[in-house]
Amino acid sequence: MNKDNKYIISLDNVSIGYNKAKPVLSNINQKAGKGELIAVVGSNGTGKSTLLRSIAKLQDTLSGNILLKGKKLDLWTRTELAQNISFVSTELTNVNNLKVIDLISLGRFSYTNWQGKLKENDKNVINKSIKKTGLENYKNRFFNNLSDGEKQRVMIARSLSQDTDLIILDEPTAFLDLPNKYNIVNLLFELTRTENKTIIFSIHDLNIAIKEVDKIWLINNNKIYEGSPEDLILNNTFSNIFANRNLSFNVKTGEFKSPVNADKDICIRGRGISYEWTKKAMERLRFTTECNKNTKIIVEVIDMDKKTEWHISNKENKYVCKSIYELSLILREIIKS
């Protein structure tokens, strides 16, 4: 067969959206291989959800072809599709009286008979999904009593029990706190390695995406830029895109920064962890830390046995601070005067 077969999903000149005259995105030619973790990033309204829903065939494309394992999506039956692509949405469903294990079992919908009776094989797949997602102790709890992070984990377990090669998640971390965000993305990473699943998900937190995924599809100005996170950093895709947004992208650390005020420079002297965090604090307060000849303010970080002191000096005065917070207050005073 053709070489597209090695891709789980490939988009061939696809345009998506709701209105032929005004497509949300067009000329999409992305491909996803087996076992890849792909993050779709982009601002609100750039078409991330539309793209993901189109790939999952939850909505139709405007033109072009989406191929699943080399065969057009339209040529697969409903049941075959459900056994090849599963979907997790950002919405945290509210269902009372529904046990975690029963919800996960719903993933077997396309495999069971009209009654929905679970056979031995179905039960094995369900148990494996529960194990993979670390939900053994939640099996018999009611879904509604879980935290948001646990709920999303259950929804992922449900998609695993659907036993598909491709899993699509539309902002699975949107309502989660930071540790849970990392947890979920880490779980997705694990699934691509241990289960060889192809996972495509959208996420707003670029910092997480950069640290975890194999490939990023970055949507900007109706175009999709593709590459590993590092490639996109090295070829300046990120810097170019975020240049005009009052945000700067630090090529060295792969992090975003707020713009700095170049004429507020500070010299920091010191070493170790206290030095690193003092530097971060200065950046947070919109100082640069270039430390050139014209720099008037000098901060010395002095690590002592059990405590750390910060000595500030400018032309006129000297101050001693016992915490970074105190330091920041004094710096504000100095700048004002």
């Binding site: 939850l58 269902v95 009372n96 009286n97 029963d102 719903l106 919908f109 069971t112 659907q162």
Partner: protein, 347 residues
């Protein structure tokens, strides 16, 4: 763990069946004519009694009424459960699709729209078949509209809102008809809206029964579909459900259930909204293969209780069944809402 759950279901179902049988018997016993318990038994077993009128009362009146109560109760409750699940809304009921509004429009046009001569000769000629047919045609028209909408509209919530709006528009039209009609017609119509289990004759039961039985069979077979719809239509579609077909099947069975009941007994409220909640609370499950049966039995039971209350045991008067079911159902819904604090946690 699992075994324990299933024995719990077994006990609950046994209890419910026993209660339905018990209340069925009480329903036969209570009435404005007092028939001693022993005679009720012997008439049921042998169709004979010292008083021919008692046999008549039981066979021509109370037994048909009993079957009507059993059928309408389970039909409305199951229809309500289906609507709550597909619309994911705890206040949805069998009438959200506009079925009762359509039926009332049909009856209103029949009773108040034509000149009184046609109506009274018509009603005396056809019995209340005329009203039944008018209600059927009315609700069928509204359903046809909803079906067309549901084929075009992607979002199920839009259908819910359109159904409610359509219902309100029809109600407005009906009130215009009421405003311009004379007293006797108005009374005929108002009495119809109050609902009645006793008006269904034996021959009408022959039409009502298959309609409801077919509706119930379709519902009881669609447990798996309803289960997967709990997560919403997007999820259901991604798991392989043909959403439009599922909507079609569920709307068909709901209209057979609620449509038949409304045509023969008038709009009977709140059974369809309250009973599914009671079933969820009693069975503590979201599995429709259990809930559908539980709702069916609880619906029959609640309607029997309603019917017994409406007979006002010991008195010659009866209350309209619609008022009784509302007064039974509303406190249950209120209690559930207060107990759960918020509506969204009901389902």
């Amino acid at each position: 763990m699992k075994v324990k759950v299933y024995t719990r279901y077994f006990y609950l179902f046994t209890l419910l069946i026993v209660l339905v049988l018990l209340f069925s018997f009480l329903d036969l016993y209570f009435g404005s004519v007092k028939i001693p318990l022993r005679d009720v038994f012997s008439i049921l077993l042998s169709a004979e009694s010292e008083k021919a009128s008692w046999v008549n009362i039981l066979y021509e009146f109370r037994l048909p009424k009993l079957f009507t109560a059993l059928l309408t109760g389970s039909a409305l409750a199951v229809a309500g459960l289906q609507m709550q699940t597909i619309f994911r809304n705890p206040l949805a009921g069998p009438y959200v699709l506009g079925i009762s509004a359509g039926a009332s429009l049909g009856v209103a046009i029949l009773v108040m729209g034509f000149s009184s001569v046609i109506v009274f000769t018509g009603i005396s000629f056809m019995g209340n078949w005329a009203i039944v047919s008018a209600a059927w045609i009315g609700s069928a028209l509204v359903l046809f509209l909803i079906f067309i909408i549901s084929l075009r509209v992607r979002d199920i919530m839009t259908i819910l809102i359109l159904g409610i709006l359509l219902g309100s528009a029809i109600a407005a039209f009906v009130s215009i008809l009421q405003y311009f009609s004379d007293e006797s017609m108005l009374k005929t119509f108002i009495v119809w809206t109050m609902g009645s289990l006793g008006g269904v004759t034996k021959s009408q039961l022959l039409v009502l029964t298959p309609g409801i039985i077919i509706g119930l069979i379709i519902s009881l077979l669609s447990g798996k579909i309803l289960n997967v719809l709990l997560l919403g239509e997007s999820y259901a579609a991604s798991m392989g459900l043909n959403v439009k077909l599922a909507r079609f099947v569920i709307f068909i069975s709901t209209s057979m259930l609620a449509g038949s009941v409304t045509a023969f007994c008038g709009p009977i409220g709140f059974v369809g909204i309250a009973v599914p909640h009671i079933a969820r609370m009693v069975f503590r499950t979201a599995n429709h293969n259990i809930l559908l049966w539980g709702t069916l039995l609880l619906g029959a039971l609640l309607m029997l209780i309603g019917d017994i209350i409406s007979q006002l045991p010991g008195s010659q008067n009866t209350l309209p069944i619609n008022a009784v079911t509302a007064l039974l159902g509303i406190p249950i819904v209120i209690w559930l809402i207060i107990k759960n604090q918020k509506l969204s946690s009901l389902m």
